[in-house]
């Protein structure tokens, strides 16, 4: 018998299960795009057959980091920028857990940027949602790595001299195997993309446009949005790296001109996930490591058996 009976449990799942009963009222501002992420997860998780206790939601710090306060799963609200290394290790420790990491644009593309690159590069099997509001929300509106050039804030009073980061392109270069952008104002697409991301075997990166009406009044609410898969104006193959790259570049370029492009950008179903790669070189046990600590029959090698080399 598994020590983790919530994992793989087959039963009817109610959407409300993901809403904490004794709910801390979300502290997000009215109209905040973060509600959209929460809602799409609450819809997507039951639809892909996940129960609250087989999911670990790992967040960073920011308004976005509060996600797991309002989503009732196992949760780890970590520190600014470090959701990915915590999430990655949980997945390695117990590959059967459904791991979702999430955080802000400052959290993921700024202070945690190094982890983002390496987690994508290694293709860890998890979903990573970046709440991209092009601003530091929680600390009251400073310029973030995705803020457009010229963006004025209290810390960039003359307007930012920096070109914004290209989150999608960077993700592709780093090695993510599922890359999409959606927006809080587009709940149906968001839910579908989140479902695909969860079901994808590998690092699924969702750049989630979440409007911040409080601090980012310049940015419009990401409407109207265009779904690149549905619009006739865009034609590209999401499995073709070069075409995807071109589409991503255009999407990043036009965002600051007011054209909001969303959709799936890159999907590589063939790239093995990190757990598969690690198992292939013989560095990952067959049985989830965490299971072993609850298995009374497990064998534990002793240092005593290594001493021959020292005698």
């Amino acid at each position: 018998m598994s020590a983790f009976n919530a994992i793989g449990e087959e039963r009817e799942i109610d959407r409300d299960e993901f809403t904490p009963g004794v709910e801390p009222q979300p502290t997000w501002c009215p109209g905040c795009g973060d509600f959209g992420v929460l809602k799409s997860l609450k819809q997507a998780l039951p639809e892909v057959g996940k129960t609250p206790e087989e999911v670990l939601t790992v967040t960073g710090i920011g308004c976005s980091g509060k996600l797991n306060s309002y989503l009732d799963t196992y949760g780890f609200h970590t520190i600014h920028g470090r959701s990915l290394p915590v999430a990655r290790a949980a997945k390695l420790a117990n590959p059967e857990l459904e791991v979702i990491a999430a955080g802000g644009d400052g959290d993921g593309y700024g202070i945690g940027g190094n982890h983002f690159i390496h987690t994508a590069r290694e293709n860890h099997d998890m979903t990573y949602i970046v709440f991209n509001n092009e601003i530091f929300g929680l600390t009251k509106g400073q310029t973030s790595p995705t803020s457009p050039k010229g963006h004025k804030s209290k810390t960039q009073p003359s307007g930012s001299a920096k070109t914004p980061i290209r989150p999608l392109s960077q993700s592709l270069t780093a090695g993510a195997s599922y890359i999409a952008r959606t927006a809080a104002v587009n709940p149906n697409q968001a839910k579908e993309i989140i479902k695909e991301a969860i079901e994808h075997d590998g690092f699924a990166h969702v750049d989630f446009l979440t409007q911040c009406p409080t601090w980012n009044k310049d940015a419009r609410q990401y409407v109207p949005y265009i779904d690149v898969q549905e619009s006739d104006d865009y034609e590209f193959d999401v499995t073709d790296r070069a075409e995807a790259a071109e589409m991503m570049r255009e999407t990043e370029d036009v965002l600051n001109e007011g054209t909001v492009l969303t959709g799936r950008y890159y999907v590589d179903e063939d790239r093995p996930s990190y757990t598969e790669e690690k198992a292939a070189v013989g560095e990952l046990p067959d049985q989830p490591l965490a299971e072993r600590y609850f298995d009374d029959d497990a064998e534990w090698e002793r240092s005593y058996d290594l001493l021959e080399r020292h005698t």
């Binding site: 949760g75 780890f76 520190i79 915590v86 290790a89 117990n94 005698t311």
Partner: protein, 634 residues
Amino acid sequence: MSDDELIWRIAGGSGDGIDSTSQNFAKALMRSGLDVFTHRHYPSRIRGGHTYVEIRAADHEVQSRGDGYNFLLSLGDSFARNPQEEAYYGNEEIKPLSENLDELREGGIIVYDEGLISEEDVDAIDLHERAEENDWHVFPMDLRGLAREHGREVMRNTAGVGVTAALLDMELEHIEDLMSDAMGGDVLEANLEILHEAYETTREEYEFEHDLRAPEGTHDAEQALLSGSNAIAYGAIDAGCRFIAGYPMTPWTDVFTILAQNFPDMGGVSEQVEDEIAAAALAVGASHAGVKAMSGSSGGGFALMSEPLGLAEMTETPVVLVESMRAGPSTGMPTKPEQADLEHVLYTSQGDSQRVVFAPGTIEEAYEQTRLAFDIAWDYQIPAIVIYDQKLSGENTNVDVDFFDREVSPDLGSTLTEDELREAAHDNSGKFKRFNYETAENGVASRSIPGQKGGRFLATGNEHSPVGHISEDPDNRVAQMDRRLEKLESIRAELDEERESTQTYFGDETADYGIITWGSSQGAVEEAIGRLNENGHSVKGLSVSDMMPFPEREVTEFLESVDEAMVVEMNATAQFRGLLQKELGRFGEKLTSLLKYNGNPFEPAEIVEGYEVNLAEEDREPTAQVRIEPAAGD
């Protein structure tokens, strides 16, 4: 400075294979029945710069590198950048000979490779005059030529070992066995030929006028030769740790490497990651998901771990970190030992944070205290740190094989099973009260693991309610903070009352002069105290391992029993003495410091001298590169 011991120094260029040669020779001495202790000295470069390893061997226990040495095998530096020219660095080829002479004892032996070091070079450093003055016995041998004749030039180390064995009247048996274990085929054959040829030639060519011979001894039980890094890694294995994440940094890399090489065969997981922030965060994540996990680094990398360390404290995620100190500040001297990260390790990270810190003093303690760190971390859900240094990391000594004959303890401490979770307290929505201060014992609130039924909760670095929700409610804050702090007091009580003390006492119990030290300076202090007492002084010693929680009762008793105490540590700002004064301020006037921070560990004689200078209260300065810092108010 007894002459019943051999202290053999093999010196050459970095990259000349000194490490493996010395490791095997140390094993041969151990197999012959001697106790051994090795000391490694090397620059922070792969090639270029000279390096040496010392092996001290005696028929009795050896606790330190000893004072000076009595046998030099100088290979010359075959990787010297500027073999012949007197360039900026001077002639490097001869440095393994010329730079090692100061510490060679009177009557000592010198073997050098005349195939590499010319007669003129030797004259240029006045070797023969100095030999005469010091009664050194000099044996030039063409080690390179010998090696070339029977094999390849790199085998000249083997020739050097053959000459050593001949001069010391050692049997070749153990050396041959070890060679056969390590190699085979033509390579083995060539090496054996070189060994024998060197041995015979030495005996034929030279009349032996020196007194030094290999000591003889016996062991009651089979011995293993291992380093502090081995001991820490093995302690982790036997504590049931199967997950390590790290980023290379000298000297911590040794522990990381040993576990990275062993874990795959044991069903464990090792991850080399992008930086130390990630490394510590991975250990926290793996532990959260139900695995006994660790990480570690040296000073600079550990600095990056501050924030994840605080997260582990606040979320009460058990984790073990090891910190292998090297000389700082900043990049400092990467390959030199120092005990100057104590305050860094004790206090880094924001808030009223607390952790457990152990500083082992010997190889055995490194093993025991690593296990202890895991036990305490998982029982109390608190980070535990093992702090050691480049010295303990790299020195090898022999330990009874039976010492390691123990069971693994994969127990996850205060972690609930699903059955137990059913009985535990939940809120109305079924969220588990993971941080339930009402039912906590000794401050510990048992935890659940993701994937368990009935265990979901939120772990957060924010202050939080019993189920983990972010909370700034004053009553909850005080209750949670008090509960977390209670854990440290409970640990202090457990260490003091229920477990064998990790502190080590030595010397004369009735003495009213004490020497206190911590961590890897223990061996040299113990030896110095032994010598002082043999010479008619009366001194007692205490080596402290519990850095946090501090062993208040034991140290109080020790300090009350003496009139004066000298605190010996390898740093410039007397950090451990500072800790003593913080914890037990009333003894401040009794404490003098003996500090060394030139990059080399204490030799026992330096401590003996420190004692003499301090006690005589003369206006004399110690001759060694140490500093005496008198008691406050003196």
